[in-house]
């Protein structure tokens, strides 16, 4: 009985994955990187995004469906900087895919290619959800997207050398379009410079830095810690002294604290798409920034 099943196991192990039409299968931890891989890889890659804009990437479970996807991936593209600390290591450990382990060319961390902000001076869990390498929500500064795109283009070319020129051409094309779009966004966003905002969670520091938004405070007293009624009342007091123009939050964050503030302080609440798929307009990276800036400009006027 046991021997027969063991023999079956060996036979099944020899059954290699069937080639799909795409040259590379890419497992992206977040929708923004899935979108970026699609820009550069086009029809040569098949991209799977492990998360959606409706999910808090800190709190994903290592579901069997995700393990199966990592098993088949040629490349894993994630933010890194411990953003996926709770689930990515489990997926990598359990997927049985040596080609995408950290340190191999099949493993790509976007955070390696940008300058991180909010690096904590000390590490203490009493300070909430802090990440040793800095704030991991790096994608809302389009200059970071450029840095990551360039490294990602090199990586795709290295993994699929037969089509290296086509990845490089797609990268060059993306960079041209992206730089033109960025110039346009920076022009449009001029009135936003110095605009005081309240955020739900420090998800926006890179956007703030790029557009010059001024973060008055965060609703979470510490990253990842939900505010109590008393803490919200303190924020209300703070806002009398330092008024803000708007409260911003992502589609997945609890709407109640910002709604509370809206009722008491009359502060408009803005749900920004945060990443690709976060709103109808944000169907790709260009749409993400187009709609983010348009929405911010609406409250500014």
């Amino acid at each position: 009985m046991g021997r027969r099943i063991a023999a079956l196991l060996v036979c099944l192990a020899a059954w290699l994955p069937v080639d799909s039409n795409a040259n590379l299968e890419v497992f992206a931890c977040e929708p923004e990187w899935a979108a970026l891989v699609e820009e550069i890889g086009a029809q040569r890659v098949e991209v799977f995004s492990a998360t959606t804009a409706q999910q808090d990437v800190h709190h994903i479970q290592a579901r069997p469906g995700l393990i199966a996807r990592v098993r088949r991936a040629d490349l894993v593209v994630c933010t890194g900087a411990e953003l996926e600390a709770g689930w990515l290591p489990v997926l990598l450990r359990r997927a049985g895919n040596p080609a995408v382990q950290p340190g191999t060319s099949g493993y790509f961390e976007a955070a390696d290619h940008v300058t991180m902000l909010e690096k904590p001076a000390s590490l203490d869990r009493a300070e909430g959800d802090v990440h040793a390498r800095g704030n991991p929500h790096i994608h809302l500064d389009p200059r970071n997207i450029e840095h990551v795109a360039s490294a990602l283009g090199d990586r795709l070319a290295a993994l699929d050398p037969a089509h290296a020129t086509s990845y490089r051409a797609a990268l060059a094309d993306f960079e041209r379009r992206w730089q033109a779009a960025r110039a346009r966004w920076e022009q449009q966003a001029q009135p936003l410079r110095g605009m005081p905002v309240v955020v739900h969670h420090p998800s926006w520091v890179y956007l703030n830095q790029w557009l010059g938004l001024r973060q008055v405070t965060s609703l979470e007293p510490k990253p990842g810690v939900a505010p109590t009624a008393r803490q919200l009342a303190e924020i209300l007091n703070l806002l009398h002294a330092t008024p803000a123009r708007v409260v911003i939050r992502t589609p997945y964050q609890d709407p109640r604290p910002s709604a509370w503030l809206h009722e008491r302080a009359g502060l408009p609440v803005l749900e920004l798409p945060f990443t690709v798929g976060g709103s109808q307009q944000a169907s790709d990276l260009f749409g993400l920034f187009d709609s983010t800036i348009a929405l911010l400009l609406e409250v500014q006027q």
Binding site: G2, I5, L9, L12, A13, A14, L16, V18, T51, T52, Q54, Q55, D56, H59, I60, Q61, A62, R63, P64, G65, I67, A68, R69, R71, E82, A85, G86, W87, P89, V90, R93, A95, G96, N97, P98, P102, G103, D112, H113, V114, T115, M116, R125, A132, R133, D141, R143, E146, H147, S150, D154, L171, A172, Q179, Q209, G224, V225, A226, Y252, D254
Partner: protein, 475 residues
């Protein structure tokens, strides 16, 4: 150098009180001077190192960043300083310590705990009444090199007046196996069933289901090897086989070089839409048990009887887990449904000893059990759980040798394997609060009808605290 400073610092700290008493201000000044000069030397060295680091970084920047296609960075954003640097900023190995303790109350004497029809082995008993420190787990894990990763879990718990150290797991995973193959060797929890591989701190209730207590002595772990394979399909399909020495319940004392325990399992899993995910499994455990020790059924005022089983034991488990989270985002609300069914066939000899008597029984039995549970996070940080357990044993026992027992009934009763038609069952309710991913406080009530005549009302207030590296969000 820095060691000397620490040594000086430590000795200074130790000396301080006596110095104060001795009024030797001169000595203080001398030490202060010495420390001062040490600090100066240290700072100089630090500046030197910083300068060298800066040079190295600028060199690395020139080499790694700005390939010809890279855009010219805007001046207000400096280029990454850690480009391609893959040094983890965490400890190597990743260390965590999990502190667990509880306050337990029982309406029946926990010493008398029994599951009629089942031999209680392993860690199947109840935690002590009153304040107890359950298990303090120390977990260390890291990649060994490019081919292996290792993890160990060391548990400390009290046994009487002494603190016992138990090596719960110590295993190595090969990293470079091809085509979806995985392996493990060392000491580890078997991957049969759903719950078996989880450590107590990851359980959704304070205790395991009765079926785990009855069939696996809480959970089965042993020394051995595993080979597993994951199919290259969109649906998760995993097959695994394990071979264990057979030194722990439901095995006895290992006899063969290649072990006495064989397991095989199949797991399937996937997502249904964005909000639902599931996993289901079928497992088998074939055990050739030699002198498997377990508690028998005690009569009031008499010495605790013991029953020892030798023979074949075959266990089959079917498990299913279903999880729901709105849009796949479990942060606000989520629901986890979980159920497992156990079926076991055992035959062999049972030696029953009570005081001076030692009888031999012929034993042929089938047992089954199942549980179902639901855990619902209704608001962030708060979860409610409900669980139902049921067990049933149908055992044939005949006396081969009375060995000093008064009669056959006496010997059979002392073995604890006679269920007398009683099917143990239990209802459990749980409420827990987890202010963060690292702490949890839990209140649990069990209406435990394990024993034939008496219902035990069990209350537990428990804490679980985790310090060190980030734990895993296992499915």
């Amino acid at each position: 150098m820095s060691k000397r400073i620490i040594a000086a610092g430590v000795s200074a700290a130790l000396l301080l009180p006596s110095l104060a008493l001795a009024e030797s201000n001169q000595e203080i000044r001398a030490i202060r001077r010495e420390l001062e000069s040490m600090r100066e030397a240290y700072e100089m060295r630090l500046r030197e190192l910083e300068a060298r680091l800066e040079q190295a970084e600028s060199r690395a920047r020139e080499q790694t960043v700005a390939p010809e296609s890279a855009p010219v960075p805007t001046p207000q954003q400096p280029l990454p300083q850690t480009a391609h640097a893959h040094a983890p900023r965490s400890f190597n190995p990743a260390l965590s310590v999990i502190l667990q303790g509880s306050l337990n109350s029982y309406s029946q004497n926990p010493e008398d705990y029994a599951l009629p029809g089942f031999q209680l082995g392993g860690e199947a008993g109840l935690p002590a009444e009153g304040f107890t420190l359950d298990e303090t787990e120390i977990i260390a894990s890291a990649n060994v090199d490019h081919l292996f990763a290792a993890q160990t879990t060391i548990a400390l718990h009290d046994d009487g007046d002494e603190t016992e150290i138990e090596l719960e797991e110590a295993y190595v995973d090969p990293l470079a196996l091809p085509v979806g193959l995985g392996g493990r060797f060392g000491r580890f929890y078997s991957d049969i069933g759903y719950l078996n591989r989880f450590h107590p701190h990851a359980w959704d209730f304070r205790d395991t289901p009765l079926a785990y207590r009855a069939f696996l002595g809480r959970q089965y772990g042993d020394d051995g090897v595993r080979l597993s394979w994951i199919a290259p399909t969109d649906i998760y399909l995993s097959l695994g086989a394990e071979r264990f020495a057979g030194n722990n319940f439901p095995a006895g004392e290992s006899q063969r070089t290649l072990g006495d325990v064989q397991s095989l399992y199949l797991k399937l899993g996937g997502d249904v839409g964005a909000s639902h995910a599931w996993q289901a499994g079928l497992s088998g455990l074939w055990v050739d048990a030699h002198d498997r020790a377990g508690d028998g059924h005690a009569h009031a005022g008499e010495a605790d009887p013991e029953a020892s089983f030798s023979g074949d034991s075959t266990l089959a488990i079917a498990d299913v887990v279903w999880r729901w989270a709105p849009q796949g985002n479990p942060r606000q609300r989520n629901l986890k449904l979980q159920s497992e069914f156990f079926y076991r066939d055992e035959s062999g000899d049972v030696t029953v000893s009570e005081g001076a008597a030692s009888g031999l029984l012929d034993y042929d039995g089938t047992q089954k059990g199942w549980y179902a549970q639901a855990v619902y996070q209704f608001i962030p940080h708060w979860r409610l759980g409900l669980r139902y357990d049921w067990l049933s044993a149908d055992n044939d026992l005949s006396v081969l040798d009375l060995g000093g027992f008064a009669d056959a009934d006496d010997a059979v009763a002392a073995s604890g394997l006679n269920s007398d038609g009683h099917d143990p069952q239990r209802w459990s309710g749980m409420l827990d609060w987890s202010p963060s991913e690292f702490s949890r406080l839990r209140l649990q009530y069990n209406r435990d009808e394990s024993r034939a005549d008496d219902t035990d009302h069990q209350w537990t207030l428990q804490y679980l605290m985790s310090i060190g590296s980030h734990g895993a969000h296992e499915f």
